[in-house]
């Protein structure tokens, strides 16, 4: 015992050993592992049984689908014939290029953004060929399934006989051959390369390009069912008025991509991105309000320099407002004298000639309000030397004025400009500072004034389109509009609500909580009815909005509550240390929130936000209830209601089937893209 050594030296093993061989593989092993599972014979037996039963069920579902789709009783010509109706409803034929132009703008922006954000995702050939292999098997199964009526005689299982086979042998054979080719090609490739295929990859973008090429090829060659007489249908090619534009659009998208590649060689990527963001923001209102709506603009009225002409207001607000914002974004601290000067200046702006200028006869309330605001500003100017606080005072006084004058007849545009000015003025000291950011702030302000004024002018204008409906928007075009506007407007509102609900100020918490709890507890349909019928009752006299605008407002108000709750979840998940690190470095609360907390909170709840975007996209179909002709209403009622020149009575189920697949295509693509984005974010995180 005593001469037991105190320690033992094991040394270091120098040479590397080869990893043990991978376990044997092969079809039988695969079957054992994946289909049978389990360790004992008994479990293998039961698991095998389960596999067989559920495989039968899956096959049966597949067969139901194929025999439903390929059944000669299905009149798919109802879909092909009414495609335009479902997409854009009453949009006049002669102006259809406006729709194509809109899609073209979208494609170009997507292509340029792919370049600018360097989305060079790769897909490994392994994943790709496995996908192709499985898709090939699926296609072959589908065609074989289709003949399952005969098969059911060989396999006497009742599950298999659902529908009679159609005589679509030519198409069926073609699909089978394509499936076989996909399967065989991918299978051989995988056989040859094995695991090595995992290391080879092709760019995602070239896949998209190949996909677009294939689609072009298909739409030019495929024959689809078209109506023939009142009740029959035959096969025919797709009209060149459809295939032509799509081909051009694909070509334009690819050209735009290469243009972007060239552009990024001569322009800084960051600058290109900034411009693209601006283009994206502008593109949407331009598409809806200018390109698609074809407004009649009275340039004489717009460009007149007067107290209520759009140009006059634009100049007034961008010059005076721009000067105030420029001043607020100055870096050095503020001498008291200048503070007072500004306070008096602001007082003059508020109470002096502009108000007289805006009103024909001064309403009773305006005078006292302006005086009060002026007094508050002077007091503020005397007591407070800090730019941030001055900005807050100006901002909140303007906001209060703008809200109070809600009850005073004041041009809606002026009120909107006051409120936006309040916001920008409050943000200016936090995000200004250097010469560059200061100029940016002013530029942003001028752009906002322009946007607000332009939106207002365009909204007021009559449309030159000739259509037989209450609005030029209809079909899928309307659904897209509602979805995008709903998300775009509810997002900022939701962020503000979430911040208010987690704020330390009880009044904000109370208001936000009340808003969220009330809005969420009432069904969306109620809000839609409210928007379509009742909002006008709550607006000051003389203001009315288009029905679409009211519906967009209702949808946004509703979505904002959900967005707010999601983001609140994100805010709660942020470590207190993040706030502390921000304030320890001297960032203000606004800056910490905008630069540190909010980006993380949104990332943390991205899956939930994607979910609510998808839900709100699908929920746009509810507008059918208040009589707006969205794609679902058209497919469900308009199409099956036609009897002349083609009779589509009784096609309702298949139209709904089509709509289900149509919606699925969009939401599935979106959720997949969001998933990729989430993954790309996750790479750098935590």
């Amino acid at each position: 015992m005593t001469d037991q050594p105190q320690g033992i030296v094991h040394g270091v093993i120098e040479e590397l050993e080869k990893a043990p061989d991978p376990p044997p593989s092969g079809p039988w092993i695969w079957v054992q592992e994946n289909l049978l599972g389990g360790d004992t014979r008994l479990t293998k037996f039961f698991n095998g049984l389960l596999t067989v039963v559920f495989a039968l069920i899956a096959v049966n579902i597949l067969q139901f689908l194929t025999s439903y789709i390929f059944n000669p009783e299905r009149r798919w010509s109802a879909v092909t014939f009414n495609m335009k109706l479902m997409m854009v409803q009453a949009f006049p034929q002669a102006d259809l290029f406006r729709i194509w132009l809109s899609i073209g703008i979208f494609f170009v922006l997507v292509a340029l953004s792919l370049v600018a954000w360097g989305l060079r995702g790769q897909m490994s050939l392994w994943t790709l060929s496995r996908g192709l292999r499985n898709a090939g098997v699926f296609l072959m199964l589908m065609t074989v399934m289709h003949g399952a009526f005969e098969a059911s005689k060989i396999l006497p299982i009742p599950l298999f006989s659902i529908d009679s086979p159609a005589d679509w042998s030519g198409t069926r054979l073609l699909i089978f051959v394509i499936g076989l080719a996909m399967f065989a090609g991918a299978f051989m490739y995988l056989r040859r390369e094995g695991i090595a295929a995992k290391d080879k990859s092709i760019p995602f973008l070239s896949l998209i390009a190949v996909g677009m090429g294939l689609v072009t090829l298909v739409i030019w060659t495929i024959d689809l069912p078209i109506p023939d007489g009142q009740f029959d249908e035959t096969l025919g090619p797709i009209a060149t008025s459809t295939t032509g534009p799509w081909t051009i659009l694909f070509a334009v998208a690819i050209a735009a991509y290469f243009f972007g590649r060239w552009l990024i060689g001569i322009v800084e990527p960051a600058r290109l991105r900034r411009w693209l963001v601006i283009l994206w923001l502008f593109s949407y209102p331009v598409i809806i309000m200018v390109i698609q709506r074809k407004p009649i603009l009275e340039w004489g009225d717009i460009l007149a320099i007067s107290k209520d002409s759009p140009l006059g207001l634009f100049l007034l607000f961008s010059v005076i407002g721009g000067a105030v914002i420029w001043w607020l974004a100055l870096p050095d601290s503020l001498p008291v004298g200048r503070g007072i000067a500004v306070a008096i200046g602001a007082l003059l702006i508020l109470a002096g000639w502009p108000l007289e200028f805006f009103f024909d006869e001064m309403p009773a309330l305006v005078g006292p309000i302006a005086t009060l605001a002026g007094v508050a500003l002077i007091a503020g100017g005397l007591m407070i030397h800090d730019r941030v606080e001055i900005a807050r005072i100006i901002g909140s006084v303007l906001a209060i004025v703008a809200l109070l004058v809600w009850f005073v007849p004041m041009p809606f545009l002026v009120r909107g400009l006051f409120i936006t000015f309040a916001f920008v003025a409050v943000a200016a000291p936090s995000f200004g500072g250097t010469a560059q950011t200061r100029n940016n702030m002013v530029a942003v302000w001028v752009a906002i004034v322009f946007l607000v004024v332009a939106t207002f002018v365009l909204g007021e204008a009559e449309t030159a389109l000739e259509f037989q409906s209450t609005t030029f928007l209809g079909g899928f075009n309307l659904s897209i509009l509602l979805a995008i506007s709903g998300v775009a407007l509810s997002f900022p509102l939701g962020v503000v609500l979430a911040l208010a609900r987690t704020s330390s100020m009880p009044i904000f918490r109370l208001l936000a909580t009340a808003y969220i709890e009330i809005v969420r507890s009432v069904p969306l349909i109620t809000w839609l009815f409210f928007g379509s019928v009742m909002i006008s009752l709550f607006l000051p006299g003389g203001i009315s909005f288009d029905e679409i605008v009211r519906v967009v407002a209702a949808v946004s108000i509703f979505n904002a509550a959900y967005v707010a709750e999601n983001i609140r979840g994100g805010l709660q998940s942020i470590n207190k240390g993040q706030y502390e690190a921000g304030s320890a470095m001297g960032l203000s609360t606004v800056q910490s929130t905008a630069l540190i907390i909010m980006p993380q909170a949104i990332r943390a709840v991205l899956p939930a936000l994607v979910g609510s975007v998808i839900v709100s996209f699908k929920d746009t179909s509810l507008v059918a209830i208040i009589g707006l002709a969205d794609v679902l209403l058209i497919a469900k009622s308009f199409v099956p209601g036609q009897t002349n020149p083609h009779n589509f009575l009784g096609t309702q189920p298949q139209m709904l089937f089509f709509i289900a697949i149509f919606y699925w295509m969009f939401t599935f693509t979106f959720s997949r893209m969001a998933l990729r984005y989430e993954k790309s974010l996750g790479l750098g995180e935590r």
Binding site: F431, G433, T434, G586, Q600
Partner: protein
């Protein structure tokens, strides 16, 4: 030790309550310019609370704190001014996970000091070189080891060119082999003349770098002195007990 007359940090009779619980019971001390002060003491003795009061992450109720002649009052401008002078390094790094290392460092210079992006990036790269990890500039914090993250956190604080650095147990979340790399950076910083208050249990660091050691317990400074005094000749019973447990 003073360069221009006044001490860097003055703490006078600071008292701090969390609800009914008194975390600081009247702390008084002075930190001269270029001084390195190490604060030790058992858990819950108020070390973190003290240094968090110095840059207003906690608000003290009684007493007075002044940094570089600026009184810490409720005036927002004074608080901002003090936070600009005081850098802080946390036990849990608190890097911003959604920003790259370089963006972490340049964020405050751009938005608080209103530097241009190029200027702040150049400065940021120099700081990364100083803490020895320039090659990590474009990575995200989650991709770095703990020691590297803490060095980024130090560089991030230094980017605001503070006059004082506060460290709250900067190495206690780190594996032993990473502690040294962080301590080396801190030593270099101390030698370059930075005024520092360091809460730490690294007695080697205290012995080597500290000008003065404070021993805190029950929300008070029980004993203070040079490292030699502490490690050879501690006076108070609590100090002796604590040191005997920790050494």
């Amino acid at each position: 030790m003073s360069d221009n007359g006044h001490p860097m940090i003055v703490v006078e009779g600071v008292k701090k309550w969390f609800g009914d619980f008194q975390a600081l019971r009247g702390v008084t001390t002075t930190v001269g310019q270029r001084d390195v002060v190490v604060v030790i003491g058992p858990s819950g003795s108020g070390k973190s609370t003290l240094i968090r009061c110095i840059n207003r992450l906690e608000v003290h109720q009684e007493g007075r704190i002044a940094v570089d002649g600026i009184e810490l009052t409720n005036d927002l401008r004074n608080i901002d001014a003090i936070r600009r002078e005081v850098g802080m390094v946390f036990q849990s790094f608190n890097l911003f996970p959604h920003l790259t290392v370089l963006e972490n460092i340049t964020l405050a210079p751009i938005w608080v000091r209103k530097q241009t992006r190029t200027e702040s990036e150049e400065n940021g790269m120099q700081l990364l070189e100083r803490v020895g990890i320039p090659e990590q500039a474009d990575k995200y914090p989650g991709q770095l080891s703990g020691g590297q993250q803490q060095r980024v956190a130090i560089a991030r604080s230094l980017a605001m060119s503070p006059k004082v650095m506060l460290f709250d147990e900067p190495t206690s979340a780190l594996d032993p082999e990473m502690i040294k790399e962080v301590l080396d950076v801190m030593k270099e910083l101390a030698l370059s003349g930075m005024t520092m208050i360091v809460v730490t249990h690294e007695m080697g660091f205290a012995r080597e770098v500290a000008d003065r050691v404070l021993f805190m317990d029950y929300g008070t400074i029980v004993e203070e002195g040079t490292p030699e005094h502490f490690f050879t000749n501690p006076q108070h019973d609590r100090t002796k007990l604590f040191l005997s447990q920790i050494l």
